[in-house]
């Protein structure tokens, strides 16, 4: 299993809008595409209180490529994302990396 760690640095004041979008829109579309989350977190103590950190779980890079591309091309996602960003962008910047569990990890 490969874990994708993603950190969204939101525009000032926009973290609630990002949380709402994941909760009400993005997660439902991901279900349809078979994209699986492994946790979402906001920052209690850390670099920035405007960040959302989350993980996605993939069987392979090939699965990631196929499913993420399908999600990115999804017309429902395009339309709903545009609606949530009428008042301006929500994210300033995204950082991501691919991580592999160690043999002794509680998460496999």
């Amino acid at each position: 299993m490969i874990y994708e760690l993603r950190v969204y640095h939101t525009m000032p004041g926009k973290l609630p809008a990002l949380l709402k979008r994941f909760d009400e829109i993005t997660l439902k579309i991901w279900e349809r595409h078979g994209i699986k989350q492994a946790g979402f977190w906001t920052t209690l103590v850390g670099d920035s209180n405007a960040d959302l950190t989350y993980m996605l779980q993939w069987e392979s890079l090939a699965e990631r490529e196929k499913k993420w591309d399908a999600f990115q091309a999804d017309p429902e996602w395009h339309a709903k994302r545009a609606e949530t960003e009428k008042a301006g962008p929500i994210n300033a910047r995204v950082e991501n990396s691919f991580l592999v569990p160690t043999s002794f990890s509680s998460v496999k």
């Binding site: 490969i2 994941f22 946790g39 979402f40 209690l44 691919f98 569990p101 160690t102 998460v107």
Partner: protein
């Protein structure tokens, strides 16, 4: 629940030593102190191939304070750690933060 995200940046070439120490020493001592991991990962694609990323899970900051202090003061840990670092330090630097799961997170 509070998740502590910890990233260990190893001294070049020392990531295998760090992984071995967690696997054979640290995790056993954490069991004694009831310190709970929530996943360990190395980097497949990302900023550093010398990094180990992991999560600890805490009920509260008070629990973290009490248990980490006991673990840090544990003579078994101090002597075992010293032995693994006879040839020099393993970890160059550590970054950590406290994260809180969102309402829709699969990790609670």
């Amino acid at each position: 629940m509070i998740y502590e995200l910890r990233v260990y940046h190893c001294v070049p070439g020392k990531l295998p030593d760090l992984i071995k120490r967690f696997d054979t020493i640290t995790l056993k001592l954490w069991e004694k102190h009831a310190i709970h991991q929530a996943g360990f990962w190395t980097t497949l694609v990302g900023p550093g191939n010398n990094d180990l990323t992991y999560f600890l899970k805490w009920e509260s900051l008070a629990e973290r304070e009490a248990k980490m202090a006991k673990f840090g003061a544990d003579p078994d840990w101090q002597s075992a750690r010293a032995k693994t670092e006879e040839a020099g330090p393993i970890v160059a630097s550590i970054t950590n933060s406290f994260l809180t799961p969102t309402s829709f997170s699969s990790a609670k």
